[in-house]
Subunit: 204 residues, 2 copies
């Protein structure tokens, strides 16, 4: 890989609930150990197995609102009755030290990140079909019908944003989706505008 | 791979003489059988092993000039005392039928192609160093000192164009360079703007 002394790549992955973002990102991290996940700050309850500082920073609504007042977020949203936010300090320190960062974001958050960091790479993960998405949401269990309906309506709205992303990856097979994202990252690092230093060096 | 019914991808590879464009493209074609080479039309003499209609369409200066008059080229240039041109009809027919096309082009030609086909993908192949480039040009043999000096001067000029390309790939090892170009092609096919059809289909 051609890499100069330069900042890390910021990769943002979105996609409807049930598309498999978490699973695909985990598979990607196994293939590419150079990428780190930056946890979001959230007020939602931890799901089984989710750990503080690894998957999310879990906060109360009061704590989150204080962080908003102190301008500690790159972006934050109120999504399905919970707050989600990206902590600015942790993100910028990681990128400056050359670490590639991947984040899971809902669509509004992703688009705000792109506005603030135009060189970030937005990837929209699609389910293979709407039918398959419904099946996956239902098979997660512990969800009642109104929640499923709400998620499907929301999924449909979110997919309308996909055209504003840089890339669209369909999650038919987790391994293929992770390979495709890995390729996107590799290609992005070869973009000419990210390699001005190398060009200056060789052009004697 | 996510592919709708759509046109092929046009990939243009440039780089100073001696960088190894031909070798890298041959390695790429072995990895990815979906890509075809569109031969250029040229007035230069065939090198050993070069075949009509596979590596180039070889023409006399008179024939080439007649083709210019008949507007048969996407672009053509006069480069190191020979004409080189891209035949419009063959290129557009291939792309419309969904075939991915790769072409080797000097910098002026590549930039003209990008102007006419903004969705084309321009890749600049760099030698690992100027020293290595000189060594490679000399090891080709059958070249005298003025030719070597001319090529090196020209190489230096060409590298100044690299910033106008989409991607920059360094040819340290042929296999790695071919893998990187293959990844670029895969990533380009996942670009959101090339997948509007899939988005329309899934967004019920």
């Amino acid at each position: 890989m051609e890499e100069g002394k330069k900042g890390g790549l910021l990769i943002v992955v979105s996609g409807p609930a049930g598309t498999g973002k978490g699973t695909v990102i985990r598979a990607l991290l196994k293939k590419n150990s150079g990428i780190k996940v930056l946890p979001s700050v959230t007020t939602r309850n931890p799901r089984k197995g989710e750990k503080e500082g690894i998957h999310y920073y879990f906060k109360t609504r009061e704590e989150f609102e204080r962080m908003i007042e102190n301008n500690e977020f790159v972006e934050w949203v109120d999504y399905c009755e919970n707050y989600y936010g990206t902590p600015a300090k942790q993100l910028e320190e990681s990128l400056e030290s050359g670490i590639d960062i991947i984040m899971e974001k809902e669509v509004e958050g992703a688009i705000k990140i792109k506005e603030r960091y135009p060189d970030s790479v937005l990837i929209f993960l699609l389910p293979p079909s709407f039918y398959e998405l419904k099946r996956r949401i239902m098979s997660r269990g512990a969800e009642d019908t109104p929640v499923i309906d709400k998620r499907l309506r929301r999924a449909s709205e979110e997919i309308n944003y996909a055209g504003r992303y840089d890339y669209v990856v369909t999650n038919k097979r987790v391994e293929d989706a992770a390979d495709n994202i890995n390729c996107i990252i590799k290609a992005e690092k070869l973009k000419a505008f990210r390699n001005i230093d190398i060009l200056k060096e060789i052009s004697l």
